[in-house]
């Protein structure tokens, strides 16, 4: 492509014409970025949830599981890609395994914290009402842990979006492809484009999770006092504070 030979003095910091000519690349890299993020966080969530439920059943399991996740979390990403090379080579599998690994600690901790935060009297009431154990976890414990779980997903997702760019080193990368290419060709437009798009995607996801939390846990809002009801009603109610209702 253009710009071979490096950054010339005459070369502007951003070449908008180059950006315009590469909208196809932007779309395909976005798609890859989305796929890697969703797959990594999705798989990580399933594994972390399984570990959390095991911890809920056998409390003693939590310590070792959390320690394992923390140890994995502390391995530098570049080192992990290299460590995985002999087993899975370059490509999607290498990238995914690494990305999933980094989501586990955050997700496990938040799920467990959310489950621990269920008030004991609520749990006891549920047992006393005649919930079977699995049904209580599903209908009471997990819904009440939702704010904490969504917060974990939010951090894990934003972190993963950043890490995805690094997977360009093993031939994946999403927007990281731009950065990688820009670095090797010393072409600032591509570096900036990759970084800006990656950050923008992270911010978009962050906002999405804030909205998701409000929708999934309407009772947990700071004012808390919102009339439940149909969608429009809820949205309206969100903006108006309700005063506490005094004893009749």
């Amino acid at each position: 492509m253009t710009g071979a030979g490096g950054m010339l003095a005459a070369e502007p910091f951003i070449r908008w014409d180059w950006v315009r000519d590469h909208t196809d690349d932007i779309v395909s890299n976005l798609w890859e970025h989305v796929q890697l993020t969703v797959l990594a966080v999705g798989i990580g969530f399933v594994i972390a949830m399984a570990m959390a439920l095991i911890s809920l059943r056998w409390r003693a399991a939590y310590g070792p599981l959390a320690a394992f996740c923390a140890a994995m979390y502390s391995v530098p990403s570049v080192a992990l890609f290299a460590l995985l090379l002999p087993f899975v080579g370059l490509g999607l599998r290498n990238a995914l395994i690494a990305l999933v690994t980094y989501t586990l600690l955050i997700l496990l901790r938040n799920i467990v914290a959310g489950l621990d935060g269920v008030p004991p009297e609520v749990r006891e009431a549920a047992d006393g009402m005649g919930y079977e154990r699995w049904r209580r976890v599903l209908r009471v414990d997990l819904p009440l842990a939702t704010p904490s779980i969504v917060a974990g997903l939010r951090i894990a997702t934003v972190t993963t979006i950043g890490l995805v760019t690094v997977t360009a080193l093993v031939g994946e990368g999403g927007f990281g492809r731009f950065i990688n290419e820009g670095l090797s060709r010393q072409f600032s437009t591509e570096i900036v484009l990759g970084a800006v798009l990656s950050v923008a995607f992270a911010i978009a996801c962050d906002v999405m999770f804030v909205v998701a939390e409000r929708v999934l846990a309407p009772w947990a809002r700071p004012q808390g006092v919102v009339k439940a009801g149909r969608w429009g009603e809820r949205t309206l109610a969100r903006w108006s504070r309700h005063r506490r209702i005094a004893d009749a």
Partner: protein, 380 residues
């Protein structure tokens, strides 16, 4: 009606819950939390389990819905050993109310109330109708049904807790210190409401409390437990106050047992004195002689229909021809047949004349109560 009534005493028909040699020793504990407890709970009665902390009252309660498994002994509910059915089925058939209500914060008030009917698989219309019915029964505004529990006051939350426990109309209700977390004014209100409710629903209620006054106010029977789950006495509140079986029970009832008994009796139970009384038409001399005769320096005045008008002091009569010329001063304490003797006593000690005047619902004079009259009732 004393402790350790054997199961054979009462026919199975009238007994809702029977505890038989119930013992619970927690793992690692040196002494049992509950030891060899025998107790029967008659159908439709409210039995209060009372005692100091560590007396195993909550443990006992939770063994009835198997939130705690007994170490030994048997719990019979409606003549059935509770171990013979799955725990979740047993619990769906027993209402459970706990301290601070324990409402599900993520469900609306209506959904909270609908919990057990939903578990039982009722259809939507039946659930909706039942929730509305319970809201009315517990005097909860139906507008609250769509709100989350966090929007409710402590008292309202506790009412929702009771509504939720009653939802599937279980014959038995377990209440574990339900009112200990609300302020005293709301607590008194909730207690009154429970009494009213119970007159309507006639549940067998096991009520755990550390507050003996609450137990006296609410219970048909009180079981006093000592540390280690030892049953000291089971009796009606009046009988227990009259004849505490031992020092522990007497201490637990408090040094104002006599006054507490007065709170269980009403003016109807007392013998009224006649009191110094004249009609409006009586002459001043008649009034003076009535005072002298009865030994008072005042006299009560009635109109022609026996309606109590007030009282006139000896000095007021100076210069008057008849009682009717004077304006009687109102009595500070006027009681009716339903007034508790404790309230009457309060009226007596705070009034100038040191008496409480009893009238019927139309204000007609019935008689007079003095401290002596009350003392007679308590020692009788």
């Amino acid at each position: 009606m004393t402790a350790a009534a054997t199961p054979a005493d009462t026919s199975a028909e009238d007994v809702a819950i029977r505890l038989e040699h119930l013992t619970k020793t927690y793992p690692g504990a040196s002494r049992p939390a509950v030891s060899g407890l025998d107790l029967t709970m008659p159908r439709g009665e409210l039995v209060a389990l009372v005692g100091p902390s560590g007396c195993g009252k909550t443990t006992t309660l939770k063994m009835i819905n198997r939130l705690i498994e007994p170490t030994s002994g048997t719990v019979w509910v409606d003549g059935v050993d509770i171990r013979t059915q799955p725990t979740h089925e047993l619990r769906r058939g027993i209402g459970y109310v706990i301290q601070q209500a324990g409402l599900f914060p993520h469900r609306t008030v209506g959904d909270n109330i609908a919990t057990v009917p939903k578990l039982l698989g009722w259809d939507r219309h039946r659930i909706k109708a039942r929730v509305d019915e319970l809201a009315d029964l517990l005097r909860l505004d139906r507008g609250l049904l769509g709100r989350y529990p966090s929007a409710l006051s402590g008292g309202q939350q506790q009412r929702v807790g009771v509504a939720r426990a009653l939802a599937a109309d279980p014959p038995v209700l377990l209440m574990d210190e339900p009112y200990s977390a609300v302020d005293p004014i709301v607590r008194a209100q909730l207690q009154d409401e429970l009494l009213t409710l119970q007159r309507e629903v006639h549940k067998t209620i096991v009520f755990v409390t550390h507050d003996i006054d609450e137990a006296i106010k609410l219970a048909n029977r009180i079981a006093i437990l000592n540390v280690g789950g030892i049953l000291e006495q089971v009796d009606s509140p009046a009988e227990m106050l009259r004849a505490p079986r031992n020092e522990f029970v007497a201490d637990f009832l408090g040094d104002d047992r006599g006054i507490k008994r007065l709170s269980l009796m009403t003016v109807r139970d007392a013998s009224l004195s006649k009191g110094p009384l004249v009609a409006e038409t009586a002459s001043a001399d008649d009034a003076r002689s009535t005072m002298a005769e009865r030994g008072y320096d005042w006299v009560a005045v009635c109109d022609g229909d026996d309606h109590l008008q007030g009282w006139i002091g000896a000095s007021d009569l100076d210069g008057a021809e008849t009682v009717g010329e004077l304006t009687p001063k109102p009595f500070l304490s006027v009681v009716t047949a339903d007034t508790t003797l404790k309230a009457a006593l309060d009226g007596i000690v705070t009034s100038r004349t040191r008496v409480a005047m009893a009238v019927d619902d139309d204000g007609r004079y019935l008689g007079m109560l003095t401290v002596d009259d009350l003392a007679e009732g308590v020692t009788a």
